[in-house]
Symmetry: C2
Subunit: 143 residues, 2 copies
């Protein structure tokens, strides 16, 4: 196997989190564990196949953990691994810069950010709502 | 024109600095102004056409400035704009994480980082050498 060569260390970072989707997935995971159905709802333009592939690559690189709940019906969730959490400051900064950029370009972030729980002003409330939604989902799938 | 919609603000960031090359170009520019020939030397696998396109997009997004020196022969350099410099903490973190990742994967960053002035241990010396190299280049092009 030929040894990798990088001209600058950022190339190694981009090998792990580069591409159109990985940073988006990882930013969503900084808000908590997600099922693939959650991620598809949060990323309507990604295909199931592409999502699965990205998650597998992130898992192979040790960035996310795949948690399998042995229950009926079986449930799988993804979370940032301990190593994945080392990316959190970068992911937070990427989100913050994007918000700043949206405000610069459009004047108002709420005009272009889809109305979803992540973009609520009150993050505490969002997390709480997210939790409630998840509990409802679980309770529904039980019935 | 249909209005943009983002599901999460990081998508706006990736529109500006996403893709295979832009972060690499920008990281190089955090070390100082560069001519396209400098960038091609630092990024041997990028084509001239791709580099030109990436630089134009970064210029259109207000991230880099194109400086034209009206001299014979004419000289063009690229630098981070003031807005581009707002990405510096992110770019530095991406480089630092990559270095950390390389050490984790390979044990020694010097084994996989190409031997160029940017990767020297002594950054002060590197900058000085870069400056000397540039002066030599200028003096050569004058002769």
């Amino acid at each position: 196997m030929e040894k990798k060569k990088y001209n600058i260390s950022v190339e190694a970072t981009l090998e792990v989190i580069g591409g159109k989707w990985k940073c988006v997935i990882l930013c969503h995971l900084t808000h908590g564990k997600k099922r693939t159905s959650d991620l598809r709802r949060l990323m309507p333009s990604i295909t199931q196949k592409m999502l699965t592939q990205q998650l597998r690559e992130l898992e192979d690189d040790g960035i996310v953990n795949r948690i399998i709940y042995h229950q009926v019906p079986p449930k799988v969730e993804y979370e940032l691994s301990e190593y994945g959490w080392s990316l959190q400051p970068i992911l937070d900064s990427l989100c913050a810069w994007g918000e700043h950029h949206i405000i610069k370009e459009y004047g108002d972030k709420f005009a272009v950010l889809e109305d979803n729980i992540l973009n609520n002003k009150d993050i505490g409330l969002a997390t709480e709502m997210d939790q409630t939604a998840k509990e409802e989902e679980t309770s529904l799938s039980k019935n």
